[in-house]
Amino acid sequence: MAETRIPTVVVDDVHIVYRVHGAAKDSSPLGALRRIASRGPSATVREVHAVKGVSFTAHEGEAVGLIGTNGSGKSTLLRAIAGLLPATKGAVYTKGQPSLLGVNAAMMADLSGERNVVLGCLAMGMPKGEVRAKTQEIIDFSGINERGDFSSLPMRTYSSGMGARLRFSIAAAKKHEVLLIDEALATGDAKFRKRSEDRVRELRAGAGTVFLVSHSLSSVRDTCDRTIWLESGVIRMDGPTDEVLAAYEEFSTAK
């Protein structure tokens, strides 16, 4: 059985230290001058050690949940898997190009939803013909047109839930070998959540691997069969969702 499982993501002892600009404690002009004069290590830059030596292997057809308290390094780890944040130490190996789907993925607020769909699909590397064919399908899936013609309005007029739904729909339109979802399922109403969970299951069936970061334990329970619990940048537990969630819930209530 082990031989038939094909790894899609191998994370090997990954450390991530990222630098934060404009995080100086003393933000006055005098403070800036003092830092330059004293030649302190990188004036306004502070370093955050977000992920500290994480290793695991994910396989084809797996849906992996990532849970942990706020600031435990879940989103950072996801970005590293997507190749968007280079690891400071260690390495991440992936099959194909993983796609990160986050609720704060950039969109152009001044443009209509429809134009954003086209732009987003092209940015994911979809060929032009396919984009044209899929645009309507994506808008229908997102359901933003359920209350009138919203897809031709600028995105700045959307509610945050509508924006998130459109973003999810765009990312889910492409078949990804590895799909990384950051909190997306937590947004949107119950109806859309159901639809997106179905879509995640579909993507998984297409021999992809899905990572899901969420604070909503129920959506992790519904979509993932394996869960990794991160705490302060270290893996605290890695195993079947039921066991990990039980331990996590115990940990959370004990605090």
Binding site: R5, P7, V20, T94, A106, P127, D238, P240
Partner: protein
């Protein structure tokens, strides 16, 4: 099934070997130069769509909307004409000063706008960079295309101004096509160069306006640099005349205006200088940007 998830299925293999065995590639690796060019080509539709989108997005909240693409260069020309033509009276020494001035403003304005937008091409799109994987050079390149589209609007205005001020239509106008091509290659290279610099040196954004203004005053936009440098030693004057922006502007004037004052260089040597600048800046900018491909988005 559940047990298999917990236990590592390949205990004997190191992670790197396991990855190699199944053909996985390291995330965030810098692609080879040829591969990079190929992926940029594959993303050409994105680059153009993004450029169009930016062009539309900047003016959606203005009441006059897309009309501003034409109004902005016109207003610009009017302001400079008021100051340098009417108040300071620079026009007395140059024939058809209005056309002379507008050539300078529009040609310089193109590269200048590319430079300032290129500086923030990476830093202002960090969200997008952190969310999607695409060749990062798409961003500075699409910034260049956005400005090129605006240049086309200014060129239409310029042609109208030139005709109104009494210049006859000539075949020489066609030399604008290779000229704008060379200038676009130069500006694209500059955008790539500044995009990487701007992502490393975050304060560059604050410095750029001063750099660009110095460049503007040194490029003979409102006056003839050749006349102004008459009293200088030849080497100093030659050095000042190698300024790529000056060369582009002078060549545009040669194309559009029949009474252009003679420049320091002959027209053919100016073409050589322009081509040289385009080649050097285009190649250097691209190589420099590509070498940093891995680090964009790190913050």
């Amino acid at each position: 099934m559940a047990e298999a998830v917990v236990t590592e299925p390949y205990p004997a293999l190191a992670p790197a070997q396991l990855a190699a065995m199944h053909g996985l590639r390291a995330a965030g690796d810098r692609p080879g130069l040829r591969e990079y060019v190929r992926s940029l080509w594959a993303y050409r539709h994105f680059i153009i769509a993004f450029a169009n989108a930016r062009n539309v997005a900047t003016l959606t909240t203005a009441r006059l909307g897309q009309l501003w693409h034409v109004l902005t260069p016109l207003t610009n020309a009017a302001v400079y004409y008021l100051i340098f033509g009417v108040i300071l009276g620079t026009s007395s020494r140059i024939e058809n000063f209005v056309a002379y001035l507008c050539c300078g403003i529009f040609i310089f304005g193109y590269t200048s706008a590319v430079a300032s937008a290129g500086t923030v091409a990476i830093t202002s799109n960090l969200n997008m960079i952190r969310a999607l994987q695409f060749p990062r050079a798409s961003l500075p390149l699409s910034v260049t295309i956005t400005q090129f589209q605006q240049l086309l609007a200014s060129m239409a205005v310029l042609i109208a101004i030139v005709l109104v001020t009494g210049e006859p239509p000539r075949l020489a106008w066609l030399t604008l096509i290779p000229l704008l091509f060379l200038q676009t290659v130069f500006s694209g290279g500059l955008a790539l160069l500044l995009a990487r610099l701007g992502s490393k040196i975050v304060d560059l954004k604050q410095i750029m306006p001063f750099v660009l203004r110095t460049w503007l005053y040194g490029s003979g936009v409102f006056y003839s640099l050749t006349t102004a440098t008459d009293s200088m030693p030849t080497w100093a004057s030659t050095l000042l005349h190698l300024n790529p922006m000056l060369v582009f502007i002078e060549l545009a004037r040669e194309a559009l205006i029949t009474t252009t004052p003679a420049s320091h260089f002959s027209v053919s040597s100016m073409w050589a200088v322009a081509a040289g600048w385009a080649l050097v800046m285009g190649a250097a900018g691209f190589l420099y940007f590509w070498r940093g491909e891995k680090e964009y988005g790190r913050g």
